[in-house]
């Protein structure tokens, strides 16, 4: 069974040390995620690929406690749905990335906590491949599950 990314050009894969793939404006330096062709600030079209740092701090978060409408949601629904955390992680000095979180317990998640990129299972496709996506996990992981 292969592990395939949910979309091309989102993160470096396969990799032992994956990174999100963003872009950077060669004129003003703003960083975007994912890659985009023009700069949202100066409207230049000279963007270069830019790999994002793996660690940052949680800037805002919530939980997703019900399955989003399908389509467009492509993950497990019904009894197979597992609530997940979602938030923005601020990658210092670069960009805030919206991401699924590996932790969904409001008693554990805190604004400002240190987070690190993780590639996690999302669903199984028709060929039996494991589709993986990017997520952020609390650094250390020890805090995880503490709110049982």
């Amino acid at each position: 069974m292969a592990r395939v990314p949910v979309a091309d050009a989102l993160f470096t894969w396969p990799s032992d040390d994956p990174q999100l793939i963003g872009s950077r404006c060669t004129s003003c330096g703003i960083v975007t995620f994912p890659v985009q062709e023009s700069c949202p600030r100066c409207a230049f079209t000279d963007m270069e690929e830019h790999l994002l740092p793996r660690r940052g701090r949680l800037w805002a978060w919530t939980t997703q406690s019900f399955p989003p409408p399908s389509p467009p949601y492509g993950g497990p629904t019904g009894d197979a749905f597992v609530p997940y955390g979602i938030g923005y992680v601020e990658l210092p000095g670069e960009v805030k990335v919206e991401s699924r979180l590996t932790e969904a317990d409001p008693a554990v998640l805190r604004d400002g906590m240190e987070m690190e990129l993780a590639i996690v299972p999302f669903r199984t496709d028709d060929e039996g491949n494991e589709v993986v996506t990017f997520a952020f996990a609390p650094v250390g992981g020890a805090a995880s599950g503490g709110g049982a």
């Binding site: 949910v6 979309a7 989102l10 963003g22 703003i30 960083v31 975007t32 995620f33 994912p34 949202p40 600030r41 800037w59 805002a60 978060w61 919530t62 939980t63 997703q64 406690s65 019900f66 399955p67 989003p68 409408p69 389509p71 467009p72 949601y73 492509g74 993950g75 997940y84 979602i86 938030g87 923005y88 601020e90 000095g93 670069e94 960009v95 805030k96 990335v97 919206e98 699924r100 409001p106 604004d111 999302f122 996506t133």
Partner: protein, 382 residues
């Protein structure tokens, strides 16, 4: 010299669920009621703007009202659709093109969270596939961060929702007319932390319409014209924390509500302290709390004490969502903002019945906010 604009008639098709009634049917009802309120006939109407999400061609309502050949322009601007219809209608009069026209909004949504193809919002497909393309989790994140930064409690969110259900119980046109206790609201299922099911509004069905004319002609039709002092629509700037954003820059900028509000106050030449009755976009209880500050009615964090003291109640210092807001009325997107204007007009005329704000309010305010980062504000006065 631009003409001033007056609202001389308002009409509503109740909000809720109406099996077998189409969005167009509801739009026709709202327009007929607004015309009757103004004492004018459809054949007197010189132009119209119609807003809807679900109805492709709101102008098809002419089939039910009369084929008079007027220019009837359809608009869609997310949750600010009605603000765009109102702004364009008002500007048509301001610029002197016509003297009397209609702005109408109508919608008929299926139950459940709004959904769409993310690519239509300039978002990648995977954004929807992963479950990020959802307005409710944005509102959860925004209020959760706001509570953390400014010391707002979940009890305050429950009090705001309870106030809106109470106000809705006094409104015969509301979708939800049953008061709910703060305990019931907090005990309902969490949808997006810290927000529970009863803290959110629901998509539903309904229509609202207003008749506008040149202010210097308003007394031909009514003794109680309500003047439209400002109408503004703004979209997000870089750095605003907005719905459907796969990323945000490090820099932070106020959202479009702040921009629309400041521009409206400047145009109207009045300030937040002059406003007597307020309608805010309460997609959820947290949005009402945040919007109170974003529109200049209090400082960040002050809401905790204001709500505890009952200042947002109908008899409080800052009456907010006196008809129950989106919480009790639901959100037929195209109609929602004109429902707000309908309520403010009734309040300023002293016709709001059981939910009338005391003390003869003379200035009213409405605000809309929605995807993908659009806000609309209007300021009205006697």
């Amino acid at each position: 010299m631009a003409n001033d604009v007056a609202i001389i008639g308002v009409g509503l098709h109740p909000f809720g669920r109406f099996p077998g009634v189409t969005g167009i049917d509801m739009g026709a009802v709202a327009i007929r009621r607004a015309l009757a309120d103004a004492g004018v006939e459809w054949r007197d109407v010189q132009f119209a703007f119609g807003g809807s999400y679900e109805v492709d061609n709101p102008d098809a309502v002419v089939a039910l009202l009369g084929l008079t050949g007027i220019p009837f322009t359809d608009v869609y601007n997310g949750c600010a659709t009605a603000a765009s219809a109102l702004t364009l209608a008002a500007n048509t009069i301001r610029l002197g093109e016509y003297d009397l026209g209609v702005a109408v909004g109508m919608d008929k949504h299926l139950p459940g969270a709004f959904s769409a193809d993310p690519r239509l919002y300039a978002c990648p497909s995977w954004y929807g596939e992963l479950g990020h393309f959802l307005t409710t989790k944005f509102f959860g994140m925004k209020i959760n961060k706001y509570m953390h930064d400014h010391g707002i409690s979940r009890e305050t969110l429950a009090r705001v929702a309870a106030k809106n259900y109470r106000n809705g119980a006094r409104n015969p046109n509301a979708f939800r007319r049953k008061a709910l206790s703060e305990e019931e609201i907090l005990a309902s299922p969490v949808l997006n932390w810290p927000l529970t099911q009863y803290m959110f509004c629901s998509p539903d069905e309904g229509a609202a319409a207003v008749v506008l004319c040149r202010a210097d002609q308003a007394h031909r039709y009514t003794d109680t014209p309500i003047y439209l002092r400002a109408t503004t629509v703004r979209t997000r700037r870089l750095g605003a924390f907005e719905v459907h954003s796969p990323w945000l820059p490090i820099e932070e900028t106020p959202g479009p509500t702040v921009d629309a509000s400041r521009a409206a106050f400047e145009t109207a030449g009045i300030g937040p302290d002059d406003v007597d009755v307020i309608q805010l976009q309460d997609t959820d209880a947290g949005a009402e709390v945040i919007h109170l500050a974003e529109n200049g009615f209090c400082a960040d964090g002050e809401q905790e004490a204001l709500v505890a003291r009952g200042e947002l109640e109908i008899d409080g210092r800052l009456p907010v969502n006196t008809d129950g807001g989106l919480t009790a009325n639901g959100e037929p997107i195209g109609a929602s903002g004109l429902r707000q204007v309908h309520e403010v007009v009734l309040q300023l005329r002293g016709q709001a019945g059981d939910r009338q704000v005391p003390g003869n309010p003379s200035v009213g305010y409405t605000q809309l906010y929605g995807a993908p980062g659009t806000a609309g504000v209007s300021i009205l006065s006697t």
